[in-house]
Amino acid sequence: MNWLNINKNDRNLLIGFIVVVLLGPLIMEPIGGGYPDLLQKFAIFGIFAIGFNILFGLTGYLSFGHAAFLGIGSYTAVWSFKLLTMNVIPAIILATLLGGFFALIIGFIALRRSGIYFSILTLAFAQMSYNLAYSVLTPITNGETGLQLRLHDARVVDGLFGVERTAGLPNTELFGLAMSGWNGYYFCGFLAIVGFFISLRIFRSPFGLMLRAVKSNQHRLSYTGLNTRPYTLAAFVISGMYAGLAGGLLAVTDPLAGAERMQWTASGEVVLMTIFGGAGTLLGPVIGSAVIKYFENIFSSFNEGILLNAFSFLPEGLQQAFAWTVGLFVGEGWHLTLGLLFMFIVIFLPGGLMEGATRIKSLFQSSTKGSPPIQKDLPVEKS
């Protein structure tokens, strides 16, 4: 794989990633996650977080508005389904490009500031988009109902190619292959692999080194002859494109776009995923998003009935007390659990799950080889 221009370790990392994507259904089966809806989310939010990490993990610029690009990607894809074709290729290309285009504009403005002011600017922009989607932009976003497919949508490209109209709403497809179920998962999984590879290349390249230098000491970088603004803007646009793609894929697997996708909680979620897994590491964001989506799925599926059932061995009063207490942390209350988990990670493992992995690894190494030298602390990036 020399043509991919990567060294042996990275090649193994990439192969590992591909294998995990391919065997995803098998791996997730024993822990109750072996179905396409969930695995699709892993892939899609993995892409979102990988892109976010290129901005936040490398340059240190913390955006609180990336859900806006996710939403833009979804709207774009649905419009592509409505106006052009049910084929997903134009949809995701347009979603990626539009995500990047809006990131260019927003980044141009927001990157005039750094630190907390940058974060606030991105947050303000995302909330603005969210509100616009509900108000002035209703003709484009269909307001609270959300943008949906209709039987009589134009779909001009499909019309040109003489694609027959179905009686019900058409399915998204890839040259005839329906994008539902496992097909949808593997399509998203393939793009996650591509996204991961691009991120790997950026991490290892001189461009990526400059981005890390921005995070380390932006002043030094400019006195070293590098114009830092276009570097941060490039990272911002790239991460916006990833977000647009992820939004497009959400619409591919379920052709519907709503403004709630742009809400600040959604922007916060990708921040959580990235930090949870390990900002600035290659694998961290992917792992973070998978873990969070997995637990969200498990925890939020518990309802009162299940809980009462689980505690049925207890006397009635206790049964209800237990079910009520646990009920605070599951179902609708799952965010409480997530919050606690996140606090735990930030306090004890500021480098996220990847730091945990590194620590465990060095524990093993130091017990066999004595204390390690003060070498550069590369995060463990073996899968």
């Binding site: 221009n5 990567i6 060294n7 290349r201 950026i202 290892r204 390249s205 001189p206 461009f207 990526g208 080194l209 400059m210 890390r212 230098a213 995070k215 380390s216 000491n217 002043h219 030094r220 970088l221 400019s222 006195y223 070293t224 002859g225 590098l226 114009n227 830092t228 276009p230 570097y231 490039a234 003060i374 070498q375 550069k376 602390d377």
Partner: protein
């Protein structure tokens, strides 16, 4: 021929006249020292050269072009590098990466999305960086994270970062401050070596031993004005200098 010309530069911070009509010329290929008591405006003067500060009035010309209004990265790209009074390095990158970054800046310019090549395959950049790390005797720690270095080592790292760019003008702000005597002597030797390669240097220094070992010309700054200028021997005996700076003590 002067490589740097400073004419009538003024800089005021609120009520403080930090630079008061400074005139200065640095000859190409020489080592020019600026001495003066604390707060004289020496660092402020350097800040006006590298785009960190813009003088209220005056001219700063380098190699025939004005530096005023240029951005810091543009000034570096025309050949001016600076070592700061408190070391400015990339604390969470390795020493090797610290020196490779300025080398990339010299080769690729101020901005280039070079995402396909691998840093580890950039052999010529890497070799250059290693050679510089050897010059400053830090090659053994090439893979160490820079923030783990001692202050003296950070200075030497920063020096390597500047030198790898082969600047036309190297600005050094108190390069030996806080160093032990032995380290200071090593640094003097290193700077002599650099000077012998013909790199123009402007050095701000407190340590008279360093100044008189290196400088070919000395300007004395006090309260924002150049009060004396000349060859080292002239400065040593200059009554105004002794009064303003050396407190009357004989050297």
């Amino acid at each position: 021929m002067p490589i740097l010309t400073v004419k009538n530069v003024n800089k005021r911070f609120g009520g403080l006249q930090a630079l008061d009509n400074v005139n200065l010329e640095i000859e190409a290929g020489t080592v020019h020292a600026i001495i003066g008591p604390n707060g004289a405006g020496k660092s402020t003067l350097l800040n006006c050269f590298i785009g960190k500060l813009i003088p209220d009035t005056g001219l700063v010309d380098f190699d025939g072009v004005s530096l005023l209004g240029k951005k810091p990265h543009e000034i570096n790209q025309v050949g001016v590098s600076r070592v700061f009074q408190t070391p400015e390095i990339f604390g969470d990158l390795s020493l090797l990466e610290n020196v490779m970054i300025p080398s990339f800046a010299s080769r690729d310019g101020a901005f280039r999305v070079n995402a396909w090549s691998s840093v580890e395959n950039e052999t010529s950049i890497k070799e250059q960086a290693m050679a510089l790390l050897e010059d400053v005797e830090l090659a053994d720690s090439a893979q160490v994270i820079a923030c783990q270095l001692s202050r003296g080592d950070k200075r030497r790292l920063e020096l390597a970062m500047c030198l790898v760019q082969q600047p036309k003008l190297l600005l050094l702000d108190e390069p030996t401050a806080g160093m032990a005597r032995a380290d200071t002597n090593n640094t003097i030797d290193l700077l002599k070596k650099i000077a012998s390669k013909g790199i123009t240097m402007m050095i701000i220094e407190h340590d008279m031993h360093v100044v008189f070992s290196l400088a070919e010309k000395i300007s004395v700054l006090a309260q924002g004005t150049v009060i004396a200028e000349g060859l080292p021997e002239e400065i040593k005996g200059h009554p105004k200098v002794q009064e303003a700076y050396l407190g009357g003590a004989h050297l």
